[in-house]
């Protein structure tokens, strides 16, 4: 195997890392956005991913809707679930300490997983690729068109969020709420409604993540747990609250895993990625792009 072979191998690891990494990034974005709005970590984020993926497959393959309609309906449906979660579970907590709310979201994730199991059964589902385009070949390495879709979606979401926060009144109000809920409320900003909106947005983002992952992976009621955990790690790595950080963290985690496989061993893949993650957090406790040092409870 000459230099060409080594290059080809290296490139394949990069592509594999980017594919997985963009999946983690899109989930990390959901975590990150909700955290920056509400200071809350929603551990049911992975379950929104699951609902989005399974909902899309059911609507597209099951009900026979055209793909764009299935995507939109599934996203709206999951956003509604996010709204419901906020209204039914989060808002009614009598003493809303962060730790209590986090436990509520863990409970919600178990509930949603159970509901997913009842609705879709315990089987896995697969979805065909969105485009008939086969895999691209770049210098002998294979790149899936679906990975490009995910990357494009990630970038769109990041820039969309930036635009929303900088240019729209609602976005600015939301930012104000994030800085100080009480001060925003005194200024006449309806903070409760904005929290509701934040939940709907992050749930919808989770759903989009799930929809985009469905064609490259298999979807089942319990897919959310692992993906949620990886997405959370990516968000921590990049710096909770920073959307660019979430993308960076996701891609970094994906690449670390791929190179862990390539240069060490696949059974050590997760260990290598997480040891490096710990190392980075040791040097920069707030994550790579984290604005400030996180408070410990």
């Amino acid at each position: 195997m000459g230099l060409r072979g080594i290059m080809q191998e290296f490139l394949q690891y990069v592509f594999s890392g980017v594919t997985n990494g963009s999946v983690y990034a899109i989930i990390a974005l959901g975590f990150s956005m909700l955290f920056s709005m509400t200071g809350l970590i929603n551990f049911a984020q992975g379950e929104f991913v699951m609902l989005g993926a399974l909902g899309m497959i059911s609507l597209w393959k099951g009900a026979g809707l055209p793909l764009p309609a299935a995507i939109v309906l599934s996203t709206i449906g999951v956003s509604a679930v996010g709204l419901l979660l906020e209204r039914a579970a989060i808002r009614n907590v009598r003493k809303p300490h962060p730790i209590v709310l986090v436990i509520v979201t863990i409970g919600a994730s178990i509930f949603l997983r159970g509901a997913g199991m009842l609705g879709w059964g315990k089987e896995s589902y697969s979805s065909p690729a969105f485009s008939r385009q086969g895999a691209f070949e770049v210098a002998g390495a294979t790149l899936l068109p679906q990975s490009l879709f995910i990357l494009a979606a990630v970038l769109l979401i990041v820039f969309g969020l930036q635009f929303f926060h900088r240019r729209t009144l609602t976005g600015k109000a939301m930012l104000a709420c994030a800085i100080s809920k009480r001060a925003a409320w005194l200024q006449g900003i309806p903070s409760e409604r904005l929290v509701l909106l934040a939940f709907a947005l992050s749930a919808g983002m989770g759903a989009i993540g799930g929809i985009l992952i469905a064609p490259i992976s298999m979807s089942s009621y319990d897919m959310g747990m692992t993906l949620g955990l990886k997405g959370f790690c990516a968000a921590m790595l990049g710096g909770l609250g920073s959307s660019l950080g979430a993308v960076l963290g996701g891609l970094l985690l994906g690449l670390l895993e791929a190179f862990g496989v390539g240069f060490f061993s696949s059974s050590l893949k997760d260990a290598i990625a997480f040891v490096l993650l710990l190392g980075i957090l040791y040097v920069r406790p707030g994550g790579i792009l984290g604005a400030k040092v996180v408070k410990r409870f």
């Binding site: 999946v23 315990k122 298999m218």
Partner: protein, 385 residues
């Protein structure tokens, strides 16, 4: 308050069940109680669910014949949820409270190993439906199993490769007890068939993309790749394998020998070769195959009653019950006699294979329990009789 209510509810349920059973049992001797432990819910429900149904099917079949020596059979089945702790708890319940004569199950290797000491100590005959070789090797007097061992599946794959003159293989296994066991067997048996494992990789059961592992396998230039796992991971591998344009054959384990795999992997499933229980290809078997009649009857009964396609896994529990029924004859339910008689079961044609037990062999199956099949046009085709 709640507790009392549930107690009352349970007692009522027990009474009701008792009332239902009494008329049938009135004219014959005390029923034989058979314990069942299956992962009916949880991640491995794809094993436990058909196993539970098949056990019920087998028991109804035997009862319709009039039971064993005039004793009807009665099943006490608990759900293990695939959790060794719960399995242990339910196993003690079966042994001490329900006083069963024998236990069929559990569905998984870890859950079985968790209760082996219990079954040996009590003692009570245990016929496991799990595949792990550790269950019956070394032989434990009271523990048997009906599922084919990985040893046989690996031998079937390597046998096929030997015929195709494949000498170098890359393997990729799932990070679970099933994958570990497959990996051990694949490495251990390779030299016997003149095969060299040039690269061994693993993947997580929930990983979304395995191209990194496959890249590493490809760089070792194998002549074939063997993937060892249960759905959905192997389907992802099949897709990645196709996308990366591999020009060599892909082998899979019997863990994905079901139409579900073809559904998940889609076009990428084409031409994959794997060992499978004969149940998958019942109608392709020659009439001379001794298992054909048993298989046909089981498939008809199962699909007719439960309105769902058969899986190879239900057969493990069905066979276990048939073996137990044979062993129970003339023992009047004495456990040590039953244990001894299971070892004497010979030539019992079951769904999984033909069982020949002995004091040295508590699995009783030979290599003919597997056939090599290839996926062609989305169907499993026998390629190697």
């Amino acid at each position: 308050m709640n507790r009392t209510m549930s107690l009352i509810g349970k007692s009522l349920a027990v009474l009701l069940i008792g009332l239902l059973v009494v008329p049938a049992a009135a004219w014959c001797k005390e029923p034989y109680k058979i314990g069942g432990l299956f992962s009916v819910t949880g991640p491995s429900s794809f094993l436990g669910d058909p196993e539970k149904k098949s056990l019920e099917l087998a028991i109804d079949e035997i009862n319709a014949r009039g039971g064993i020596d005039g004793h009807l059979l009665e099943a006490v089945i608990y759900d293990t949820e695939g959790d060794p702790g719960k399995t242990n708890l339910n196993a003690s319940k079966l042994m001490t409270k329900d006083n069963v004569i024998a236990i069929i199950g559990p569905s998984l290797t870890p859950t079985t190993l968790a209760i082996v000491p219990l079954a040996e100590k009590q003692p009570v005959p245990l016929i496991s439906c799990a595949a792990g070789i550790l269950i019956t090797e070394p032989v434990k007097p009271w523990v048997f199993k009906t599922a084919q061992s990985d040893v046989l599946a690996v031998a079937a794959i390597y046998g096929h490769m030997q015929k195709k003159k494949i000498k170098k293989v890359g393997i990729i296994t799932v990070e679970s007890a099933y994958g570990e066991s497959g990996r051990d067997q694949l490495t251990a048996q390779a030299p016997k068939f003149g095969i060299q494992v040039v690269q061994a990789e693993t993947f997580g059961a929930k990983d979304t993309d395995m191209t990194a592992q496959l890249t590493k396998v490809r760089s070792a230039q194998p002549e074939a790749v063997i993937c060892w796992g249960t759905n959905p991971g192997p389907a992802v591998i099949a897709r990645n394998f196709q996308q990366m344009g591999f020009k060599i054959p892909l082998y899979q384990s019997h863990g994905v020998a079901s139409p579900k795999f073809v559904e998940l992997a889609g076009e990428a499933a084409e031409n994959i070769i794997l060992p499978a229980g004969k149940i998958l290809v019942t109608d392709q078997l020659p009439d001379s195959d001794p298992q054909k009649t048993v298989l046909k009857r089981y498939v008809e009964q199962f699909t007719g009653r439960f309105k769902q396609p058969v899986s190879p896994f239900g057969g493990y529990a069905y066979d276990a019950m048939m073996i137990l029924a044979k062993a129970l004859e003339g023992t009047e339910g004495k456990k040590d006699a039953v244990r001894k008689r299971i070892e004497e079961v010979k030539g019992l044609v079951g769904v999984t294979g033909t069982f020949n037990f002995s004091p040295q062999d508590h699995n009783g199956l030979g290599p003919e329990a597997f056939v090599m099949v290839q996926i062609q046009n989305g169907k499993f085709k026998v390629i190697d009789q």
